[in-house]
């Protein structure tokens, strides 16, 4: 209480400021992928249990966001994109963000354990730990590969969704994890190619800064090539099918073509047209992930209506 008088916040803290600590936009992605993981699983879940479980996953993901904002307040204040966040903007103290993040973490994990099962809760706890400690505290400021390993945190939600329904881990849930995990680096580095000034000023090691844009272009291509087999393999599991396969084929060819275009050209060409190709590939990458998961949902829906194709090979 005493420290409240030490900081001139200009105005009092709003409930909305605490909501902003939960990173609602990241949360929407978590909710979507976790929900797909839950719905494509072969075990049906009671709607109330499913709703509550996804809610607790969302709160857990939000909690890790609050912990991230507590730890990163010093660099968030430097970067234009993050300057308006509650802690750097002085709406919530860093200490309160930490306390809020820790409480929400504990409540969400415990409630998910009671509502669904303790494997799902354990995965959520690990996700929070991975994002808040491994990524935020350790990797983000120390290595330009931060995106690669940190991407694992964003890749866990569909696996948690699957665990909520089945209580287990399977090749399908691991492949959904791998899909997001392998997608994150080319997605993020395409973005970094056309807006890296901020990270530079904040001293966060971005590949574009530490190794240059040439290396980043190479990395985008290599990671996209590695991503393709993962995305296509999903088609031949129990959650895949011809609709997913067809869509994935088109999306992967588009993404691959885009990554090739990024790799082929140099920065002079990119600056000449204000990073047109890089911006386009970044936009493609957004559709890429969304549509892969949307099509998994379509396949699952088709199956519940008995629309299956017996001839479709299920190799994995």
């Amino acid at each position: 209480m005493a420290d409240a008088t030490l900081i001139d916040q200009g105005r009092e803290t709003d409930v909305g400021d605490y909501f902003a600590l939960l990173k609602p936009r990241v949360m929407s992605l978590v909710v979507f992928t976790a929900l797909v993981g839950l719905l494509v699983a072969p075990v049906s879940v009671n709607p109330i249990i499913g709703f509550a479980s996804i809610l607790f996953v969302a709160i857990g993901a939000g909690a890790s966001g609050a912990l991230n904002m507590w730890w990163d307040a010093d660099i968030d204040v430097i970067m234009k994109r993050t300057r308006g966040r509650p802690v750097p903007a002085g709406k919530v103290t860093a200490n309160n963000a930490m306390i809020f993040g820790l409480w929400m973490s504990m409540i969400s994990v415990l409630m998910l354990g009671l509502t669904a099962n303790y494997l799902a809760a354990g995965l959520l706890a690990f996700t929070i730990f991975f994002y808040a400690v491994v990524y935020t505290m350790w990797l983000k400021r120390s290595t330009p590969q931060n995106i690669v390993i940190g991407g694992a945190a964003g890749a866990f939600p569909p696996m948690i969704g699957w665990a909520i329904a089945t209580g287990g881990i399977s090749v399908e849930s691991v492949l959904m994890f791998a899909l997001i995990f392998m997608w994150t680096p080319p997605h993020f580095w395409a973005l970094a190619l056309f807006m890296n000034q901020d990270y530079d000023a904040a001293g966060v090691p971005m590949l574009t800064v530490t190794h240059g844009k040439r290396t980043t272009r190479n990395h985008v291509l290599v990671y996209t090539i590695l991503l393709v087999p993962v995305a296509m393999a999903v088609a031949f599991t129990s959650i895949g099918g011809p609709l997913y396969f067809t869509t994935a084929l088109v999306l992967n060819l588009m993404f691959l073509k885009g990554a090739y275009d990024i790799w082929k050209r140099d920065d002079d060409a990119a600056e000449a047209d204000n990073y047109l190709v890089e911006r386009k590939v970044f936009r493609i990458s957004l559709y890429y992930l969304f549509l892969h998961f949307a099509l998994l949902l379509v396949e699952a829906t088709a199956k519940t209506f008995g629309l299956t194709w017996a001839a479709w090979p299920q190799w994995i």
């Binding site: 200009g10 105005r11 009092e12 709003d14 109330i48 249990i49 009671l114």
Partner: protein
């Protein structure tokens, strides 16, 4: 919004209402989960530091 006395108390009121609604929603959620779990056959009894024959697994 200017930070007048009136605005400040109105905001505090609004915050209290929102927090109250969130807590009530949480109570309702836990209650619904309980109802669903019990309709699904979950037992009302749990370990109670003594032998409870009703909790023993029977063939």
């Amino acid at each position: 919004m200017s930070g007048t006395q009136n605005n400040s108390s109105a905001r505090r009121n609004r915050n209290n209402v929102v927090i109250g609604a969130v807590l009530l929603a949480f109570v309702a959620l836990v209650f619904s989960i309980t109802v669903v779990k019990m309709m699904g056959g979950a037992t009302m009894e749990a370990y109670d530091h003594t032998v409870r024959p009703s909790l023993e697994k029977t063939e």
